[in-house]
Amino acid sequence: MRPAARFRLSYFIQHLTRRLRASSIRSIMTWSFSVFVVLVVIMVAVLLFDRFSRTAERSAYINSQQIVDQVSYNLEDYIQSMSRLYRAIEVNMLEGGQWDGPEVTERLDTIMGSREDIVSIALFDQQGRLLVNRPSLPVRASAHVSGQSWFHAALRVPGHLSFSLPHVQNLYADSYKWVVSMSKGITVIRNGRPESVILLVDINFRQIDELCSRVSLGKKGYVYIIDEGAGNMVYHPQQQLIYMGLKRENVDEALKVTEGYLDEESGLKRLNTTRSLANIGWKVVGVAYLDEVMTTRAEVNRYLIQVVGVVLVLVIIVSMLLSATLTRPIRRMERTMKAVERGDFAVELPVGGPLEVERLSSRFNLMLRKIRQLMEQIIEEQESKRKYELEALQAQINPHFLYNTLNSVVRMVGMSKNEDVVTMITSLSKLFRISLSKGKTVITVREELEHARHYLTIQQMRFKRKFQFEIEAEEQAQDCLTLKLVLQPLIENAIVHGIEYMVDEGFIRITARVTGQTLMLEICDNGVGMPPEKASRLLSADAPQAQKNSSGAGSGVGVKNVHDRIQLYYGAQYGLKFESELEEGTTVRIRMPAVAAPEGEADHE
């Protein structure tokens, strides 16, 4: 084999094994279906074969028996007719004890003329001397009549017709014919004296031979006849072979059984069927070769094996096709999933095929759509987070606030309020320190409150003590974590929108407490307030961002920024809540989850 061809072959085999890996649905379907069908076919084949061969065996036996019966009936018929003929000859010949008259001769000639199979009729006395015969021929001196078996048989049982075995008639010159001799010892009254004579009628053996040799028991099968008395062979188509020792028949067995038996000759099994002939003491044995009568069995066997083979191939092909058809949607889904795995979320499975596959495909598509949605949401969220953080970062160093504060400081310096300057600068520096807080987004409530206090201090100074403030915090609340710069925009809001325009002195109260799992920060002012509808609008999506930078005192970070940041960080159930009434004041509540700061961070000051 050329290397290229070898490579192609090995590639093909690898490909095939990969395709038909034992664990794939496709191969499971292919093989289980094939094995199942083949098992069923084999089972049916075995059952059929068994049944069929039994029937064939039975019918072979019956057939053989019928043929043997038929031969026996024919032989019995023939022998019976011969007996009647003998009787007729006897009556015609010996009536009145006269056998030598011309009338008798004429009658005998008529009988002989009517039957071709009568070879000769002869009458002997007890010493074997010829009395009369038809056709009239001299008996050979060398014939030894009294020594012949038919003569003995007639003498032994007088009055009983006996049939001899087939033998060669040697009574007359120029003829050696195969005959069966019918003989009987008869006592006749001749001339007033009783006289014992022996009547011999020789019939041609050809008729019996033909009756037997015409039988067809398969191609090789045959019928033979044995003499029940001594087991001598009466007729056998291969009698010569038996005498030569080239062939053997199990005569003893045939004599014993009444129905049939099986035997074996030179490796071939044979079915022997027997039947006794009435009156004559012969037994017909039919020999059928099983390999011939049972050929159907071998044929059916071969045929069934071929059928099973073809069915196997067929079933494998069909089940491969079938499983390929059934698993195609699954493989298509696998390909689609692989595409998703690679990052291609734009793919979509065609919805179709069998019910289950259809459902699976649409579920898969739904799932894919959901994933796409979630991903878009995440992207959106990340983007706004970044935006807000940038804004918060900007708030950390608001130049306007710095400018205003420093302006106030300069003014204070001009007024020589040194103590105030120190307080202000200290607060400013602390404010910035907490603002930066090493770039962390989350700080403790304590720090956040500290940040708010400094902011309030600065603003208090700037607004010339136009308002008072108070900070209350539970110890547990102070140790919780909060987002940075949550309070400051709200305080700024309270000052700018609530207190700045007040005639009276304002008051701002900041409280922090933990209720269950919730951290609650509250900024409460007694400023001008706002109508409730305005308060509820503050956090909606279309909240006016214009308030940003609306005053130089603002940090620039909107209230909504705070709300959104909290929700992004902690979830939608958290955030801000405004309660406000005109001329009464505003309360802002910040809800966050109560998360305790890790040890060592709480006293970060």
Binding site: V168, K220, M244, V307
Partner: protein
């Protein structure tokens, strides 16, 4: 599943089913494959009715047993070697698969074997020890052993003392030569057989009878061993004519009807009989085996049987002597 998809699936399964059905039509059919029947021709011996019949019966039995078809070419008593060769050639032209022949002489044998080789047909020789190119096997009796048996039978018949004449054609037929050799060997071992005379009796019954008559007249011989049927008939006829029927011991070969009658009547005392049935049977058997590609024996030697008036009507001998069928 929508109605449309289920319809499509149904169609798909139907296609697969149709495919399966179509391939099922290609399934092997339950048929009986008959092997070709071999045609075997048996060319009968000339001038030998009884032997020919026996051979035919044996060949027929074998043909039936081994599933071959037999054609038999018999000859009329007056037909000779020319007719035999003609029959062989016709059988070869007729497309026989194997040729079984009991050749009249070596000319027939050589010629038939040559022609058979041309046709690529194997030749089996029956009842003859000769061989030729293209001959696959021969089946015959052991003629030397047959001669031995004849010699011993004669020695027994003679009893005390006597001279034996071997009467027969002068022939180069190896069968006859072997018979004679067997006779001579057997008689030489018998001290009471004083003389052994070889007499040739020429062609035809007439010349043979005159030789036999001469022998009887000279009164030298107590026993005659006739090498073939013709010589035995001549000897028996002359013995009867010379009123020495029964006393002149005659031993011969064959089972022709005339010889059997003479045996029954006591003119011939012993017959050495070969089994024609066996020869025919084994010939066909060997031919069938050879055609089936099996190894066969090149040469098969069969035994002969000694028959006298006493045992000639025994059941087994009747079948041997009087072929029926």
């Amino acid at each position: 599943m929508s109605r449309q998809t289920s319809g499509r699936w149904l169609l798909r399964f139907l296609t697969i089913g149709l495919l399966a059905g179509m391939s099922a039509c290609g399934l092997p059919q339950l048929e009986r494959d008959e092997p070709a029947v071999r045609q075997i021709t048996l060319i009968a011996p000339v001038h030998a009715d009884e032997l020919g019949d026996a051979m035919r019966l044996g060949a027929e039995a074998a043909a039936k047993e081994f599933g071959a078809e037999l054609s038999y070419a018999p000859f009329k008593p007056e037909e000779g070697s020319a007719a035999q060769l003609k029959a062989a050639v016709e059988a070869l032209k007729g497309g026989t698969d194997a040729l079984l022949i009991d050749p009249a002489d070596s000319r027939v044998l050589d010629s038939a074997a040559l022609q058979a080789a041309d046709h690529g047909v194997p030749v089996f020789i029956l009842n003859d020890n000769r061989s030729a190119d293209g001959v696959q096997a021969s089946i015959s009796v052991d003629n030397e052993e047959a001669g031995r048996k004849a010699g011993l039978a004669m020695a027994e018949l003679l009893g005390e003392k006597g001279t034996v004449v071997v009467l027969g054609r002068q022939s180069d037929d190896p069968d006859l030569v072997a018979r004679e050799l067997g006779i001579v060997n057997a008689l030489n071992e018998q001290p009471h057989v004083s003389g052994l005379i070889r007499t040739s009796c020429g062609e035809g019954l007439g010349s043979c009878r005159s030789v036999a008559r001469q022998l009887l007249r000279e009164g030298q011989a107590e026993g005659i061993i006739a090498l073939d049927a013709q010589a035995s008939l001549a000897a028996a006829a002359e013995a009867e004519a010379a009123d020495r029927a029964g006393r002149m011991k005659i031993v011969t070969f064959g089972n022709e009807l005339k010889q059997l009658e003479l045996l029954q009547d006591g003119l011939i005392h012993t017959l050495i009989v070969q089994n024609g049935f066996s020869i025919g049977y084994l010939g066909v058997k060997q031919a069938v085996l050879h055609l089936a590609g099996e190894d066969i024996e090149r040469s098969t030697r069969l035994d002969t049987k000694v028959i006298n008036a006493g045992n000639m009507f025994w059941m087994d001998n009747q079948k041997l002597l009087f072929p029926f069928g």
